[in-house]
């Protein structure tokens, strides 16, 4: 079988190339950092004593359970926000469904620091809402206090992951599934609970596990609310404090990675044999039901309420960017364009870098994510699953660990002129690409799973080689899914900071998030930072819109159902 031989040789080469990439840019750098977790401080051999210490330290145990609580509750609240939006826009004739889906994605694109400041000004102890509540009713609500504050912010920030996955899953359900239930006397919430939700469970779990892991590993939001007794902040604080050069920070990082892998594994286990959407036959496009006027009013009220809530940070950001002074008052004292004037002058470099880095990173993600999805789902290569697991681990590696790992692994490697490899801006791109790879990977998976193998078999039957089948059949059909992956990676890469902060070597190579960070460390930079944040969000929104347009057009040109 010469043909089969070359075929698997090509696949094996591809798999090895990806393994090499992941090895060099993910496994090795991370390993150089986390191995410290297995050594006793001050040298000595390998040991597990640090993990024993972890279990015996009240603070860490408390932080662990706090993180579990916050992550789980965030999933609950994010679901509560995502469910109505997903259900209303996929099941009913709902004007502006497209807009809702697009706006529902925006919360993921929240620039660091400045978003939290905006939220404090709106929902903080003395934010607009509480100042007004205090004036009218004499009460204050602790939206942003402690763990509940973290849950509040995280639910708003990460709910798009559930929205996107759940909407896709709901769209993929054969409409006859729900019609059959209606025909047998079921309707409303019962219908949703008994039929739609169980059938959309795979999509929901995919989104929920992503949210759980992201919240578990997020450093920025808890720290900006001054919540330190969670696991990821504990790791961050230890790793970045001078003087405290302690293995415990790395021990916690190992625990974080472990939790993430366990979550992914558990969700895979739950989903085993439950991939309903792809096993259904027949059916057709979704029949959207008409809402009665009263239902319609209620639906719009719910959607507007949810959108107002999840877009509040962006509204706050916008206000802040035009505000002269905003302090202890429901609204800014006055408005000005000065902040934009200030940043537009010297941020064109940041914008250019951000666009370049984000699109390169997202491009790398889509290529590698698509390749891994193909290898796992369509080939029988031994160990192919490991590529998936390795790439997914990136989700859990704290940005600061990856950043330090890159410095350790690549700073000693010199370019011909003596510059360290780690000082090149491409290293920033690679770090961002690795951190956002899981998003593109999941999108590629979803896209490939929906393509019937018979389409590829038909092409091969007509004489196309594997490689040509991939190029002429698989990739065109995956375009929509890959583009979705590109957009997610791109949009979130544009506001990535944690790894960037460690790797940026010069202002001229810095992306927007770094410029924003620098501005946000000065009192006068708050408005300018907000203006830069608005620019970042608008930029990402425009790129998303263009990508969406391109996707629609290519889908329509192919006559595919959108």
């Amino acid at each position: 079988m010469a043909l089969a031989g070359t075929r698997s040789a090509g696949q094996a080469t591809l798999a090895l190339a990806i393994a090499l990439f992941l090895g060099v840019f993910l496994v090795v750098p991370v390993a150089t950092v986390v191995y410290v977790a297995f050594t006793e401080k001050g040298g000595g051999g390998l040991t597990l004593v640090n993990f024993l210490d972890f279990a015996r330290t009240d603070l860490f145990v408390r932080s662990f359970w706090n993180s579990v609580y916050v992550s789980a509750m965030t999933v609950v609240w994010a679901s509560a926000l995502a469910l109505p939006l997903a259900y209303l826009t996929t099941r009913f004739e709902f004007r502006g469904a497209m807009l809702v889906q697009t706006l529902g994605f925006l919360p993921l694109v929240m620039p660091p620091f400045v978003g939290a400041v905006a939220m404090q000004l709106l929902f903080g102890r003395n934010g607009s809402v509480n100042l007004l509540l205090d004036e009218w009713l004499g009460i204050k609500i602790g939206f942003m206090e402690g763990l509940n504050g973290v849950i509040f912010l995280q639910a708003i920030h990460y709910f798009p992951f559930i929205l996107v996955n759940l909407s896709a899953a709901l769209r993929n359900i054969d409409r006859a599934m729900e019609e059959a239930a209606q025909n047998l006397g079921s309707h409303g919430l019962r219908l949703f609970r008994r039929i739609a939700l169980p059938l959309a469970l795979p999509g929901f779990i995919a989104g929920a596990s992503l949210v759980f892991v992201k919240v578990f590993d997020d450093v920025a939001t808890p720290l900006l609310l001054n919540v330190k007794e969670m696991l990821a902040p504990q790791a961050y604080l230890r790793i970045t404090s001078i003087g405290i050069d302690d293995p415990m920070g790395y021990v916690i990082s190992v625990v974080l990675i472990g939790v993430a892998v366990a979550t992914m594994w558990a969700s895979a286990l739950v989903l085993k044999g439950k991939d309903y959407a792809t096993t259904q036959r027949g059916g057709g496009g979704l029949a959207r039901r008409k809402l009665k006027p009263r239902e319609s009013a209620l639906a719009y009220a719910v959607v507007i309420l949810i959108l107002t809530l999840v877009l509040a940070p962006h509204v706050g950001l916008l206000l802040l960017s035009f505000a002269t002074v905003w302090s202890y008052s429901p609204l800014p004292d006055g408005y000005t364009l000065a902040h934009y004037a200030r940043v537009l002058g010297d941020s064109s470099g940041y914008i250019k870098n951000t666009l370049l880095y984000s699109s390169l990173a997202a491009g790398i993600d889509v290529v590698i994510g698509g390749a891994i999805a193909y290898l796992v789902l369509r080939t029988k290569l031994p160990g192919r699953q490991w590529l998936d697991w390795a790439a997914s681990t990136a989700l859990a590696v704290p940005g600061v660990v990856l950043g330090i790992g890159y410095l350790r692994a690549f700073y000693g490697v010199k370019m011909p002129d003596g510059t360290p490899l780690a000082a090149l801006w491409i290293v920033i791109v690679l770090a961002i690409a690795i951190r956002r790879l899981p998003y593109a990977l999941r999108a590629a998976y979803a896209a490939l799973q929906q393509i019937s193998v018979s389409l590829e078999e038909a092409a091969e039957n007509l004489g196309a080689t594997k490689a040509r089948t991939v190029r002429r059949i698989v990739i065109p059909l995956m375009t929509g899914g890959l583009l979705a992956g590109f957009v997610t990676s791109f949009a979130t890469a544009a506001v990535e900071l944690s790894a960037v902060l460690i790797l940026v070597q010069s202002n001229s190579d810095a992306p927007l998030a770094y410029g924003l960070y620098v501005l946000m460390q000065t009192p006068a930079g708050r408005g300018a930072g907000a203006a830069l944040g608005v620019i970042a969000v608008v930029l990402v929104a425009i790129c998303m819109g263009l990508a969406q347009l391109a996707a629609d057009r290519s889908q329509r040109a192919r006559g595919l159902d959108i």
């Binding site: 001054n226 405290i244 202890y328 000693g412 370019m415 000065t522």
Partner: protein, 441 residues
Amino acid sequence: MIRLFTLAVGLTLALVLAAGAAFAQTGKVTVVTSFSKDVTDPLKKAFEKAVPGATLEVQNRNTNAGVKFLEETKANNQVDLFWASAPDAFEVLKGKKLLSPYKPKATGIAEKVGSYPVNDRDGFYSGFAASGYGIMWNERYVKANKLPTPKEWQDLATAPYFDHVSISAPSRSGTTHLTIETILQGEGWDKGWRTTKEISGNLRQVTDRSFGVPEAVNSGQVGYGIVIDFFAFSSQGAGFPVKFVYPSVTTLVPANVGIVANAPNKAGAEAFIEFLLSPVGQEALLEPTIRRLPIRQETYAKAPADYPNPFKDKNLHGLLTFNAELSESRNAAVDTLFDQLITFQLEPLKAATKVLHEVDAALAKKDNAQARALAKEARDLIAAMPITAAQAASPEIRAAFTGGKEKSARQAELEQQWAAFAKEKYAAAKAKADEALKLAR
């Protein structure tokens, strides 16, 4: 897919090479700094004007990240200067042999600002400016909540300030560390920690960034912040309704600059230090967005009328001579104690403090000796320390943080012991205070 992948790899490589070619430059002085853009931009401009041909490349990182960065990249160092406030960060760098000594040629520089020696006695880093610590508050917040105006550190420990004060963690902010260390040196170990804990009982939050404090005060999320002066001054400059006061006993901390070991452009680095210490460089510090205290006495002649002057103002003189050696010897212990006794035990500490405030109020109305005694016991419980000053600087404890052989326990074990100690004492203090309150009412 394979072809696409090859294409992507090829593209990546091409970009790597292109980027490498564009990187080489001359006359560039690279500096890692924790100073904000407001500070670095004017100084960069002035420096590039004063030294033609030179360009200053600024890498903005917070102090801790900067130290970490130099440590991780020492094998192939590309940075010329480290430029930050906190002297202890420089001590750490010095200890790790990441600095190279340089004696500035400039003359007319003060030996001491306040009580703090300007330059490292071993010549590894030089002071170029000073800043004072004080209390910053949001006027609107204070007015709306009918709160008093503070004057002294001790004010912050009184009842009206409960839940209104913010500070950054000494383990995260070199300057806060210095403030705590000054209190400990000035009042002694036990008394100093008692003061620190009494103020901490009123804290709203402990931030992990120095700037987190002025940020919260500016936006009105907390009322008062313990901050370094320029944060308050630049906030005022940006229009925020904030005020600032130097307490009568304050610490002046120098801002430093040092040359990194194996600096690629050592000459350029020296030129920058000389520029900072020159009259032109010193005058630049008076700019409203920078607002640091120059260390050349004659520069103050050019300062605005109400500009603080450590060479004249009594309260900026300080009451003691800062012992940098002592500070360095217990650096990690002090930071970790603060974190374990205060930052991560803030809720129990505040719970006990709150009741004690109520006891005080009740006693003011109607005295009760027994209650007073119980309250004192409670305060003593709060003030109790798990280790003595001698232990804090002992080789056993120091080794726990450095991984040395003399250690009696691993760092994690020490932390757990201290946290458990504080938790138990605060709970006991709260019980006593509750009892006292019952009696006093």
